[in-house]
Symmetry: C2
Subunit: 435 residues, 2 copies
């Protein structure tokens, strides 16, 4: 594999805003969020208690681009552009005529793509005088990223971590502690919502939906506090487009363009990040054959088996209702190791694209995914996060298909994070204990 480097002046100075392209070329946008009580569309002002004005503007923006603030670009420069690598050794092992490129987000200080949105979110909150950010985290990737971003911008950070992960993945908790964040196992007795979950479901190991409810409650009841979300919302997906924008420029320098873009999909931010800049080309008629594939776990198959309808983003029903593919907001997925993909729904933007057939989706079982991860690690050296390994499983599928068809094909995927804090899961897989 080879590294493909952008010069600093070639780095993006704005995020790409996909709704502009949907509006201009498709003439249609995802349906708006609804007030959970009135079932009427909520205005941006309803979100002011949770988010800074600038992020709410981004949430509903139809501008083509959202400028990246200088302070955020400065912080990006310490780990971006992330490398675009070619998996030549994997290609050779598979004996495929396909070229496989991947954008590696695992070299960021927090080990995943989550810092890309944590930084601008912390920045805009700080600018508005916020002193505490609350959030939820599953496996801990998002919590670590926000903890670091808050540290950079001198804000406090309080993370509600799904209890199952809190107990099974102590190391991510340590990372957040080291950055100075408060980490609370959810459900907790610190909130009314938490107490209600605990009395209704004694002994529960928690879920992302419950943790969101708790984090929101603390944000709205604490002066100077706001809430931050690591996926699902438009502005979060928009921040992640820096991945795809860089990838596009890096590939252009090498004279290539993908036939298919693959990403794992939980809430959808990583998939959106790698694919939206290419989907913008497709929408504007410049890449009509381009395919985008979302990959999810069989145990939480919201796109492949869920319903497209309005649902709540959290378990207590505190968030606006959003139109999305969902397993139901009360759904508690089985405790697979890809904690970042254990979300009952998908972002409204990704859901809309899938509904409009601008995106495909597929699902794999856990053992199958870890077998792909091992193949990749042995070929390329990088040990992928279990979430990212879902994308790898599909990439191998695409490469094998190219081989059967005897076709050249350019595959691009996002390797959203490393798996160094998931080695317990790998050991379980290697010992044959994983189901």
């Amino acid at each position: 594999m080879k590294k493909n480097i952008l010069k600093k002046r070639e780095m993006p100075d704005a995020y790409l805003n996909l709704p502009y392209y949907l509006n201009k070329y498709l003439g249609e946008l995802p349906e708006p969020p609804l007030d959970p009580k009135t079932k009427k569309p909520i205005g941006p002002e309803a979100l002011l208690r949770l988010f800074p004005l600038e992020l709410i503007k981004q949430e509903v923006s139809l501008e083509k681009e959202i400028p990246i603030p200088d302070e955020v670009r400065e912080l990006y420069a310490s780990y971006r552009p992330s490398p675009l690598l070619r998996a030549s050794r994997l290609e050779k092992i598979l004996g495929t005529p396909a070229s496989i490129y991947f954008k590696y987000e695992g070299a960021s200080p927090v080990g995943s793509h989550k810092l890309n949105t944590a930084l601008p979110q912390a920045y805009y909150n700080k600018k508005e005088g916020v002193s505490l950010l609350t959030t939820e985290t599953g496996a801990g990737q998002w919590g670590s990223a926000l903890a670091l971003a808050c540290r950079f911008f001198n804000m406090k950070c309080k993370v509600f971590m799904v209890k199952g992960s809190y107990e099974q993945k102590p190391y991510r908790k340590t990372v957040m502690h080291l950055y100075g964040a408060d980490v609370i196992a959810s459900p907790s007795v610190e909130t009314q919502a938490g107490k209600a979950f605990l009395s209704r479901l004694p002994g529960t190991m928690g879920s992302l939906g419950m943790a969101i409810s708790e984090a929101i409650e603390v944000a709205v009841t604490t002066p100077g506090a706001h809430y931050a979300l690591g996926s699902v919302l438009n502005h979060v997906l928009t921040h992640q487009t820096i991945i795809g924008l860089e990838a596009k420029r890096q590939m252009e320098k090498g004279g290539v363009y993908p036939d298919v873009v693959v990403g794992c999909c939980g809430g959808g931010s990583n998939l959106a990040g790698i694919s939206f800049p290419f989907l913008a080309d497709k929408l504007s008629g410049n890449a009509s054959a381009l395919r985008v594939v979302a990959v999810e776990p069989e145990s939480c198959p919201s796109l492949t088996k869920g319903e497209y309808r309005y649902d709540s983003a959290d378990t207590a029903g505190m968030t606006p209702l959003m139109k999305m593919y969902t397993m139901g907001s009360g759904f508690v997925p089985s405790p697979i190791h890809a904690g970042g993909l254990r979300y009952h729904g998908d972002s409204p933007l990704v859901s809309f694209l899938y509904y409009k057939k601008l995106m495909e989706a597929t699902a794999y079982g856990q053992r199958d995914v870890f077998a792909a991860a091992r193949k990749f690690a042995q070929a390329e050296g990088i040990i992928p996060a279990p979430e990212s390994a879902h994308a790898i499983r599909q990439v191998i599928e695409e490469a094998n298909r190219a081989k059967e068809e005897g076709k050249k094909k350019t595959i691009l995927f996002s390797l959203s994070g490393h798996g160094l804090l998931d080695l317990g899961a790998y050991e379980e897989f290697l010992e044959g204990g994983m189901v």
Copy 2:
């Protein structure tokens, strides 16, 4: 902090060989290794049972440069040049007039600088038809690197891992397993040496010296097998000069040159890697004021408190005797978390440089080192390996001194690896349990 990037064509195509500079400008070289029985200098041929000829040639070479084979450069290209970053946020927190630069080796697939030498070592062994490489590992950084290099070159790999680490750091063992290596807790019953250690010291948690003895025994008694060492020897240090060579070019592009170069020092390969290219300047009269500082743990202070004399590199006395600063080859350091620095001696080259006052040395206690690591992580986001944190502790010392003296000063250090597999130690530190 900012990234400083080299174009691929600017990447080094040869390692720097410091003995050339010592010979030419100092007119003196480290004393040669001795046969442990006859106490006479050993010839290169005595090493042929353990190492490929090409590496033995490098071991005694007085050439200015050692070319990097194309196959190795190709593999380097997937993670090199490693980033040269400026720790501007740390500078600000310290309020120092000093500029702090660091070369970050933790973004390599195995998370440390060890892959830099594992790749050429595997390459030369493969070229000579070797089918199995044996080695020892402490914390597991070197073992992981050699396991991956062997996988890349289709060789088997057998790693004797110090029993204490094998039991306390299961994740590094998983990494080696994932790459396909055999990992054996040392001392083991697989070797005569291991059995002897076990009967002499029942219940021992092992040491690097014992593991080396076992790995060498397997190499010399198995057809088609060779042994590989992760530090200490000249050729290993030479391979690591790619770190300093890149750093020098990256700094040149930014128009800066270090006043002081800092590296942690166990066997010495990381310190040599970052400093030798600058010491070559110093020897040739182009950087007379340059300082180089080796940093070691108080619990294994071979340079600061050891003796400069001939000693064995392993516990069973199977290796040639080497002139080095040593605590004695039977010394078993206390079980600190910086496993990579728990070696009883130092490489002959580093020892010679220290003896000749071309290098300084200092030692710190474990808690002090982790406090520096936390400060760094909170400032820059990257969580350093406990080994690398020793360098950071000294960098803070240098920066504070610059502040007291009101002097501008350019500091360069090597951040040899990330600490993501050492988070248990960080948790212990945060909870106040570390001594």
